[in-house]
Amino acid sequence: MIMLKDRSKSILEEIEKRKVVPIPRWHFVLQRFGFWLLAAISVLTGSIAMATAIYVFIDNDFIEDHEYIHLFLAERPLIAEIVASIPYIWLATLALFTLVAYFGFRHTKTGYRYATTKVIAGALLASLLLSVGLNTIDVGKYIHRYLIENVHVYTKLVYANEHRWTHAEKGLLGGKIIQYQKDKNRLILKDFNKNIWQIDISNTEVRPGTRLVPGKQVKITGVVVAAQTFKAYTIQGWSKRYHRKRPVSVSKIAPIKAVKDTLVP
């Protein structure tokens, strides 16, 4: 049995000897604020990741545009297409920041009182709700586009719709309009690999709501007729809401059946 003695005196002497003083309150307030901030920033970052993941997945043509689905499915079944299209990198980012949010929340004053599953589910739900809000202002789209256009390694990390439309040899070409030469019925287009194409739109169905103006992203079906020259059969904007807009210009319409025959032998 350990013998007890009044050690209050010796403790006070030791405190005196070590010259220790209570850490100021602001230090702890700042520390707690730091953990709350970490949790909040992580949820926000997670929601951005979620917003981008939702955009990348929804943007896939097998969801957004059923018209061309047969062209893609000619290569592999729908389930394989869906599995390949899941934006794993964004989901992994969401998972990582959800864990960081959990860590931050767990270190707040009473964060430990909540079950891990509840905190993680709460962080995920908050990220999901925020991501829906963020996607109403197209945050996911802008982030994805910026990365596709500027970060080379990103294109290897996601199998996005842009990849499907980077197959001119199969009749699928997508990219940004650089110039519209109305008098020559020609578009100058930069594809997602930064190649410049001349697009002949003299006999092309321009889908309703498609704006042929520089800077706009478009999807074109057609055929390669010469080096870096593409004859377009159909052209449509990348925007998900193209069907809500008025048609800008409709030239001669080529039946989509003919496109199919050309593209899928």
Binding site: K9, I23, R25
Partner: protein
């Protein structure tokens, strides 16, 4: 005489009041030390530190850490939970540094508490006979540190679930689960023996 009268006066203050007083005048910390030195020393021992000088060094470090972190004390918590949390962290950290786990519980001092464990966990053998304190002690000694810790807090320190939750910084649901698991382990050890 003045000292004795001051001590008696300090005994009437709540923990929260003593914390406030200490922040204004560190001499008031002596009252906190006097109030908690015995329970904390018992806790250190029950968690498995049986070397007297190590236990006393640990106790000193716990009080100094408590003093340094006084401004971090949240008055919505029980002060005892908060100081036990500091003690728990300090003891675990000491075990890690020393690279040894807890040794046996001190049966002589806690004999009646082993009986309490038997009653509360309804530990009876196949014939319905209660297990002896000695058997319980052997089973508790075999527990892993986390299970042992929770049993010590629940049955030896007589803490409630919410207090254990605040001390170990885990949800109350996890406390209940851990107690239930520890109980199962104790039962299986008793059956083995």
């Amino acid at each position: 005489m003045a000292d004795i009268s001051r001590h008696k006066q300090q005994q009437q203050y709540t923990d929260q009041e003593l914390v406030t007083q200490t922040l204004a005048n560190k001499q008031a910390f002596a009252a906190i030390v006097r109030r908690y030195e015995a329970p904390l020393l018992r806790y250190i021992t029950r968690l498995g530190c049986r070397d007297t000088s190590t236990a006393q060094d640990l106790l000193q470090e716990i009080f100094i850490k408590t003093y340094i972190h006084l401004n971090d004390y949240d008055h919505s918590l029980q002060f005892s939970s908060w100081i036990y949390r500091i003690a728990h962290n300090e003891i675990i950290s000491s075990f890690r540094k020393e690279k040894h786990g807890p040794t046996v519980l001190e049966r002589e001092a806690d004999f009646f508490l082993f009986d309490k464990v038997v009653d509360e966990l309804e530990l009876t053998d196949q014939e319905g006979q209660k297990h002896t304190a000695l058997e319980i002690q052997a089973a508790v000694d075999r527990l892993d540190p986390k299970s042992r810790e929770i049993i010590v807090l629940k049955f030896f320190e007589e803490k409630h679930y919410d207090e254990i939750s605040d001390i170990l910084q885990i949800p109350e649901g996890t406390v209940a689960t851990m107690i239930s698991r520890a109980k199962k382990k104790i039962k299986s050890y008793l059956e083995e023996s």
